[in-house]
C-alpha cells in the first residue's frame, strides 16, 4: 500500500475510524488520507474479500501484496468504481435475509461531496438509524445513479452499503438509511 502513498498501519487505521464514524452517522463528511477511494479499498480488501474495480493501479498494488481476489460486479463483496457508468449497482450482491452482511460494499469515486445542497450536485436527504431527524448531503452523481442505489438497498435488511470518496473526504450511506433524491 506504500505504492499508493498510504501507510499500511497508520493510514488504514485513520481511514477505518473515519469509515466507522461515517457509517454510524450517514451523510456526514469525514476526512481520510488521500486518495480517499484507494485508502478505503486498502483498509477493507484482502484476498478474503472479493473485489471488482476499474482502477488498474489499485488492482496491481493489491496483487503485488497477495491481497487481490477479483470477481465480477455481480459477485464481488467490494465494488470500487471510479466511473459510475458501464455497470449497474442494482446488480450487486445484496446478501440474503439470514446473512444480509454478505451484501456488497460499493465505493464510488466522485468529483464533489458537500454537506449542503449544491447546484452542481444531486442532494440526498437521509433519515434512519444514525441520523437525528434528517441530514442532507450533496454528491456529484446523476440522480438516476442515486435512484438506482436507493433501489439496490431494498428489501431491507438485504442491500448494499455505499461509500462516496472525493480527494480526502468520504461520506457513507449504509442500507439502514432511507434516502430521498432531490
Amino acid at each position: 500500500m506504500r505504492a499508493l502513498g498510504l501507510h499500511p498501519v497508520e493510514d488504514t487505521r485513520r481511514t477505518f475510524r473515519a469509515l466507522l464514524s461515517a457509517m454510524s452517522r450517514p451523510g456526514t463528511v469525514e476526512s481520510v488520507p488521500a486518495p480517499a477511494d484507494r485508502a478505503v479499498v486498502s483498509t477493507l480488501v484482502d484476498h478474503e474479500m472479493s473485489l471488482a474495480t476499474d482502477d488498474d493501479r489499485l488492482r496491481e498494488t493489491l496483487a503485488s501484496r497477495g491481497r487481490l481476489h477479483t470477481q465480477p460486479v455481480e459477485r464481488a463483496a467490494v465494488v470500487h468504481a471510479t466511473d459510475h457508468t458501464g455497470w449497474d449497482v442494482r446488480e450487486c450482491a445484496r446478501g440474503t435475509l439470514s446473512e444480509p452482511a454478505d451484501g456488497a460494499t460499493v465505493i464510488y469515486r466522485v468529483p464533489t461531496i458537500v454537506p449542503e445542497p449544491d447546484q452542481n450536485a444531486a442532494t440526498l436527504t437521509l433519515t434512519g438509524p444514525g441520523v437525528d431527524g434528517r441530514r442532507r448531503l450533496s454528491i456529484e452523481l446523476p440522480e438516476s445513479e442515486l435512484d438506482a442505489l436507493a433501489a439496490a438497498q431494498d428489501p431491507y435488511p438485504r442491500g448494499v452499503d455505499a461509500i462516496f470518496a472525493c480527494d480526502a473526504r468520504i461520506a457513507a450511506v449504509p442500507r439502514s438509511a432511507t434516502l430521498e433524491v432531490a
Binding site: M1, R2, H7, P8, V9, E10, T12, R13, R14, F16, R17, L19, L20, S21, M23, S24, R25, T43, L44, V45, D46, E48, M49, T96, L97, S98, E99, P100, A101, T105, G128, P129, G130, V131, D132, Y156, P157, D161, P174, R175, S176
Partner: protein, 377 residues
C-alpha cells in the same frame, strides 16, 4: 519502545517479516535472559496483525450498517481465555489509535484484574493513554455496564458479549434462531415473556434484557442490568457489541431506536432500590449493588447479636457499581450525570437528577413510574 511500535514495528511487520529469526540457545530461560527491552519488538501496532484488524473492521462496518444484526467474523485467539473479553479486545484494538484515551470497566469497576490487564495490553501495544474518567475517554470497553455519566457523540462504547443471541435460551438451535432473525419472527420470545408474567407477575429478566433495534432486529444488549438498557435508545454514542467466543459483532449506531420488549399492561421497569443509597457517596440515583463487608472494629465491639456466628462479622451495604462516578460524587455530592455537557436535563437511563428547570419531570414519572420509586426518597 513506543517509537518501535508506531514506526519501525508496522513497517517491519508489513514488509519484512519472514517468520522470525531462530535463536541459538540451550533453553528457553537462557534465551529469555538475553531479550532486551519489554518484548514488544516484532509485534504489530495494537497487538493484532493487519489481516485480523481488517476482518474485525469489516465486520464492525457491516454491523453498523445493519443495526442489531449479528455479523459473523473470524475471531482470533487472544492472550487470555475466550469468554474473558476477547471479542471486546479485538474490537477495541482494531479501533484504537495513538491519540485515543482508553477506559476499561468490568462490572463498573476500573480496577478489577480483567479490566486492568486489558487496559495494560492496550497501553503497551497501542501506545494509548488510559483513563478511569468516563467523560475523558474516547473508547470505553466494558463488561456488563454502561457508565452512569452520559456518553457523547465523540465516544465509542465497546461491550463484551458472552451470549449473542437473545433467542438462545428459548431455542438452542442457532440455525433455527438465524432463520427467526431473517424473518423477524420473534413470536417465541413474546411467549417466553408472557410465561414469565404468568409465573412471576412481571417480566423477570435481570440482565441482558431483550430489545428491538430500529424496529427490525431482536438484540441482546449484553448482560447489562435493566438499569442501563434505556441508555442505548437514541444515544449520542456508537455502541459496538463484540463476542470473541461466538465470533460475532453487532452494533447500535447513535440515534437508533432501542425498545425493550414489554406488554402494554406489563411495562419495562428498571431495578428498584427503595430507601437505599450508596454508603460511600450517598447517591440514590445510580445503579447500586450489595456489598458484604467485614464490619469495622466499632461494629465488632458490639457483637451482642443473637446468632453469635461468624456471619455477625459481616454487614450488607449498598454501593455504587460505577466506581469512577462514585469517586466524583464523593468530591461533589450533587454532581449531575450530564455535568460535562453544555446542555442539561439529558435523558440518560433512569432518574437523571438534573431536571434543568428544577421542575419535576411528570412525563418521566408517568412513563416509568416504578423506576422512579428508588430516587424519590
Amino acid at each position: 519502545m513506543t517509537e518501535d511500535i508506531t514506526e519501525a514495528g508496522p513497517a517491519a511487520v508489513e514488509d519484512d517479516r519472514d517468520g522470525g529469526t531462530p535463536v541459538p540457545t540451550d533453553s528457553v530461560s537462557v534465551a529469555l535472559d538475553t531479550v532486551q527491552g519489554d518484548g514488544l519488538a516484532g509485534y504489530n501496532y495494537a497487538y493484532l496483525d493487519e489481516h485480523t484488524k481488517r476482518e474485525v473492521r469489516r465486520a464492525m462496518l457491516k454491523a453498523v450498517a445493519i443495526p442489531g444484526h449479528q455479523v459473523p467474523y473470524a475471531s482470533r485467539p487472544m492472550p487470555l481465555a475466550r469468554g474473558w473479553g476477547t471479542g471486546g479486545i479485538q474490537a477495541s484494538l482494531s479501533i484504537l489509535g495513538p491519540d485515543d484515551r482508553f477506559k476499561v470497566i468490568d462490572q463498573g469497576a476500573d480496577e478489577s484484574v480483567n479490566a486492568a490487564n486489558i487496559r495494560r495490553l492496550a497501553e503497551r501495544t497501542a501506545a494509548v493513554e488510559t483513563t478511569t474518567d468516563s467523560t475523558a475517554a474516547d473508547v470505553i470497553q466494558t463488561r456488563h455496564r454502561i457508565p452512569e455519566e452520559v456518553l457523547t457523540d465523540d465516544q465509542i462504547l465497546v461491550l463484551q458479549v458472552p451470549i449473542t443471541d437473545p433467542l438462545r435460551k428459548i431455542d438452542g438451535s442457532d440455525a433455527a434462531n438465524r432463520r427467526r432473525h431473517a424473518h423477524a419472527n420473534y413470536g417465541k420470545m413474546w411467549v417466553h415473556l408472557y410465561e414469565n408474567v404468568v409465573e412471576y407477575g412481571e417480566i423477570n429478566i435481570a440482565a441482558a434484557y431483550p430489545v428491538m433495534v430500529a424496529g427490525r432486529y431482536l438484540m441482546s444488549p449484553s448482560p447489562i442490568p435493566r438499569w442501563d438498557t434505556e441508555k442505548l435508545d437514541d444515544a449520542d454514542h456508537l455502541s459496538i457489541l463484540a463476542a470473541g467466543r461466538e465470533a460475532r459483532i453487532y452494533a447500535v449506531p447513535p440515534h437508533t431506536d432501542v425498545d425493550p420488549l414489554a406488554f402494554e399492561d406489563r411495562e419495562f421497569t428498571v431495578e428498584r432500590f427503595p430507601d437505599q443509597a450508596c454508603h460511600a457517596c450517598g447517591s440514590s440515583d445510580t445503579f447500586l449493588v450489595e456489598v458484604s463487608e467485614t464490619a469495622g472494629p466499632e461494629a465488632d465491639d458490639g457483637t451482642d447479636d443473637e446468632s453469635g456466628t461468624d456471619d455477625a462479622a459481616f454487614e450488607t451495604r449498598y454501593a455504587c457499581n460505577d466506581t469512577s462516578f462514585c469517586a466524583k460524587r464523593r468530591e461533589t455530592p450533587d454532581l449531575p450525570k450530564d455535568h460535562h455537557l453544555d446542555r442539561s436535563g439529558v435523558d440518560w437511563g433512569p432518574a437523571t437528577p438534573d431536571h434543568g428547570d428544577g421542575e419535576p419531570r411528570d412525563d418521566l414519572d408517568s412513563e416509568a413510574g416504578a423506576s422512579q420509586r428508588g430516587d424519590s426518597t
